[in-house]
């Protein structure tokens, strides 16, 4: 297949939308890492920055949707062009959600800054954030390179994030049982961990969109799942 349309404006429109999604991706990755760092170093200013930057991410998502709607109306895309437009809309929606989770993490970082630190939590959260950011960046690379193998790797890696979340869940539970004064902080930390786990799901969804874009079909849902967390009882920890 040829890369270029006969009508070059079509290529420019498609490239414009894809460039916006990539810019969103970069901004979201930064937001996650900065929010995690703000949490670990108790840096209120940085947390505030993450919260403010989220507006720009939301605005980009809106523009992606507007431009995609215009492209569908004016250019009537078919086949891989159609799949590209559909994929781009889904990816930008996922990125927007991930941005919201990062903003929420920044908000909670500010609250946690006013409380005694839970030992080890900041580092563990940052490691989890690093894994999620990696997944996201690989999913977007897979999109750019139309690389289904890389996308498949991202899907498999989601398991790591699930395991990290389950480990943190147990840890926070232990802290809360040891000293009820930890409950408020641990509840916030738990929400952060849960949100990071959700971000991993969104990275996986993006990877699945890449597979759809390249092959025309979504992968079957046969990813290995980690045991359901609700079965992790108090007695076991």
């Amino acid at each position: 297949m040829n890369d270029r349309h006969i009508l070059r404006a079509f290529d420019r429109d498609l490239e414009g939308i894809q460039a916006m999604v990539m810019r969103m991706g970069g901004m979201v990755e930064t937001a996650i890492m900065e929010a995690a760092e703000a949490l670990e170093s108790r840096d209120e200013e940085q947390a505030e920055k993450v919260r403010l930057n989220d507006k720009a991410i939301d605005a980009l998502e809106e523009r992606v949707n507007e431009d995609a709607a215009r492209l569908i109306a004016l250019r009537a895309p078919t086949a891989s062009d159609l799949r590209t437009v559909l994929t781009v809309m889904k990816i930008s929606a996922s990125l927007e959600r991930v941005g919201d989770y990062a903003k929420n993490m920044a908000k909670r970082a500010n609250v946690l800054g006013q409380m005694p630190a839970v030992p080890g939590a900041g580092g563990a959260i940052r490691r989890m954030a690093r894994t999620v950011t990696d997944m996201l960046s690989h999913a977007l690379d897979a999109y750019i390179q139309r690389d289904t193998q890389l996308a498949e790797d991202v899907r498999v890696r989601d398991r790591e994030v699930d395991q990290m979340y389950n480990a943190l869940f147990r840890e926070f539970l232990t802290h809360m049982m040891e000293d009820p004064r930890n409950i408020t902080a641990c509840m916030h930390l738990h929400f952060i961990a849960k949100n990071l786990e959700r971000m991993g799901d969104h990275a996986t969804a993006i990877a699945e969109q890449v597979i759809y874009l390249v092959t025309g079909t979504l992968p079957d849902d046969d990813r290995p799942k980690v045991e359901n967390v609700t079965t992790v009882g108090v007695g076991e920890s």
Binding site: M1, D3, H5, A79, S80, R83, G216, T217
Partner: protein
Amino acid sequence: MNDMSRTETGVNLTDIKIAARKVQVHYGANHAIKDVDVDINDRMVTAFIGPSGCGKSTFLRCLNRMNDTIPVCRVEGEIRLDGDDIYDRRVDPVQLRAKVGMVFQKPNPFPKSIYDNVAYGPRIHGLTRSRAELDEVVETSLRRAALWGEVKDRLAAPGTGLSGGQQQRLCIARAVATSPEVLLMDEPCSALDPIATAQVEELIDELRSRFAVVIVTHSMQQAARVSQNTAFFHLGNLVEFGETSQVFTNPKDPRTESYITGRIG
């Protein structure tokens, strides 16, 4: 709805009206159609798409032996209508064309009245025995072509006095008047404005409840809108043939992809 997939239409997949096998067409030294196999399903619209000169119109004209009129044209292979070879020596091409009707790119009504345009086929084929019966055929055909309401009060007026879209529907009425089993349409909307095009497309969708319809079109969006199956021709080869929804969302051949997405083919 014409966008239903083949499985959803509930039509038996083995309900094949025309089966073409290893069809070759030569125009003198030019090998115009190379080894084409296609099944045309009954009560479905099959669209032929492809760039100019790809052979789609040539192939369409094989289906009712319109190529017989071109001396340098040679058709090989097998085309069966309901299992019978249409190129058999015992087949009368005129009778065949009553069964396999055709509508052309430019509306070409006869310089006669609206009534006589539609009555022409039934008259020469002797399909009716009385004036009343002929009146009925004319009315039914005009109704099927969604034209009756617009012309019922002026059936004696010349067909050439109608608007372009009405003339094309008159030609469709003329084609369906002989009760064909298959309707071939060679770019039937390329001379029409968008509203007349939409009316003809709506008509095509209704006609497929009775006939197999084969349409050649340069408008890929039209193929996507009206057909259930799409065949993509390129340089005389049939590159891809499949369900329209599949061909337009996930074509298998890179040449099809290049063509329908508007890249250089």
